[in-house]
Amino acid sequence: MTGGLFADEFRVDAPTPREVMRRRARRHLGFLTGTGFVLAVVLLAVFAPWVSPSDPFAQNLDARLLDPIWGKGGSWDHPLGTDSLGRDYLTRILFGARISLLIGFGAAVISGVVGSTVGIVGGYFGGRVDAVVMYLINVKLALPGILIALSLVSVFGGSLIALIAILGFLFWDRFAVVTRSVTQQVRGQEFVAAAEAVGASHTRIVVQEILPNVMSHIIVIASLEMAIAILVEAVLSFLGLGIQPPTPSWGLLISEGRSFMFFKPWLIALPGLALFFLVIAINLMGDGIRDITVPEGRGR
């Protein structure tokens, strides 16, 4: 059967799925920009204690509300100026990135695990299980998210862990909706029937056959949810219900800068811009991942 006749037929020229993704990623400007920015922020946040010029909590009442470097009397001692207690603003913003990223990442992981489990179980088993899952999703969709977050935070307090948990358990519905429908689609494919015919357990089928085909969708939603969680944290902190002072969080910085809005607008503008660019970058990254991981033949 083998040998000369098919010699040419078995030379594999086509790239592996991973190579295809790598090739697409290299050409995707949005993905490269977004990922680059997010990576830079992550690095700055991780190494904040070493890269920041001073301590985020060190007050210096002699140097309150100094202008940034481009303003009147700005100096390299405080490149982005100081806040109303004389704390270095660059340091505060760098440390604030830690809070934002931790909350965004933590909430996305928790909601991803909860939502994907619910969605995949519903989509895979169908029938009554799916009816229960749909009911849960519909109930969740009918709840006003931010209001629930507000009330839960006012009950449980605004610690970092509490915020991550609350936001994580609030944003699982999108994961559930998407993974459920993708799982239904994958489940109908013949390779799942083949695995069933081999006698594979449900766990094996879900983990080995279904999950790898749902994973790219989960990652895309995770990036969106991460951006949303970061924004909601900023909102909660701005309202005084999230991260408590003196911990630096971007929402809190904006809130603290509010009283000086008309005299020192950069107190609001700088953390606002940081928030804006981080969220945009995460969304660019998410869109990029979606474009990169579409199956063969769809999209370019």
């Binding site: 083998t2 086509a14 592996t16």
Partner: protein, 323 residues
């Protein structure tokens, strides 16, 4: 004659079909009272139009779908008493579409090795050499273990699907239209491979197809299905040379001849394929049957079994045997 490796005894499968919110769900008899047996080492083909219940029957033979009635037996033992993994070790499928039957995220090594992993056969190195062996067996070089399905052509993918089915050395392989998604040139290669494998591994095939040319080439016996009923069963030569059921006759007449000067075959059937949710009373084929009689409209024909096979038609009931 040895004991049949696979028997279907009055197997029936019903589906409840929801039509609207306030309408009562209808019952679809996808497979209705089908009985046949498969002997060790033979190729039994099941033919019929789309929607006649072939694929439902295949899923039941694979244990993926429980029958609503009747029983399926493996070497005399009812399927219900045979465990899930033992069914898997006896009968394996090869599906129609090699693009959907291979997980795009797994390498060929993982795909062909899955049955070995599920059945805990051998350790890691043993499995690896077994996978390479099976790939060679189906005519694929062993270095493809690291390739992904998207890197292969349709014919190559179908070889992988065959390799996966053979990995745990089943006695029976159920093919659900294994060549209909392939180019004609590749079809022949795959069919020859199947015949070779049957010889060398002494396999039993249940071969579901609507391609009668392929069936004539590969099958020992042919079962013809129409709207869930098994209307005729007989040896391949007998079915193709002297079909008895009018449906089989019409089906055979619809084959395109290789000679273009003969033109298209005559319009195969009078009337449309009936609604499976509301099959005609009596013989289900009577609205389209050229030789329908009074009895056909009211009484479902009983099966007539003789030396030539089995046929469900009033033409052969009782004295009118000779026609």
């Amino acid at each position: 004659m040895s004991a049949p490796v696979l028997e279907c005894d009055r197997v029936t499968r019903l589906f409840r079909v929801k039509r609207g919110l306030f309408e009562t769900p209808a019952t679809l008899r996808a497979v209705d009272d089908v009985s046949f047996s498969v002997q060790e080492g033979e190729v039994l083909a099941i033919v019929g139009e789309s929607g006649c219940g072939k694929t439902t029957l295949a899923r039941m033979l694979l244990g993926l779908l429980p029958p609503s009635g009747g029983s399926i037996r493996f070497a005399g033992r009812p399927m219900r008493q045979v465990g899930r993994s033992e069914i898997a070790a006896r009968v394996q499928p090869v599906f129609q579409d090699p693009y959907s039957s291979l997980n795009p995220r797994k390498t060929l090594g993982q795909i062909v090795g899955l049955p070995l992993a599920v059945h805990r056969i051998g350790g890691e190195p043993e499995r690896r050499s077994r996978v390479a062996e099976i790939l060679e067996l189906v005519g694929l070089p062993a270095h493809l273990v690291h390739a992904y399905p998207n890197q292969l052509s349709g014919g190559q993918r179908q070889r992988v699907a065959i390799a996966r089915a053979l990995a745990i050395q089943p006695r029976i392989v159920v093919f659900d239209e294994p060549t209909s998604a392939l180019d004609v040139s590749v079809q022949a290669q795959i069919l020859n491979l199947l015949l070779e494998l049957r010889q060398s591994l002494n396999l039993t095939y249940v071969f579901i197809s609507h391609d009668l040319a392929v069936v004539e080439h590969i099958a020992d016996r042919v079962a013809v299905m129409y709207l869930g009923r098994l209307v005729e069963l007989g040896g391949t030569a007998a079915i193709f040379d002297s079909p008895r059921h009018p449906y089989t006759e019409t089906l055979l007449r619809s084959i395109l001849t290789p000679d273009p000067s003969l033109g298209l075959p005559p319009g195969p059937f009078g009337g449309d394929f009936p609604d499976p949710l509301d099959p005609p009373p009596g013989c289900r084929f009577h609205p389209r049957c050229p030789s329908a009689m009074e009895a056909c409209r009211a009484v479902p024909p009983a099966a007539v079994t003789d030396t030539a096979g089995r046929v469900e038609c009033h033409l052969y009931n009782g004295e009118s045997h000779g026609r």
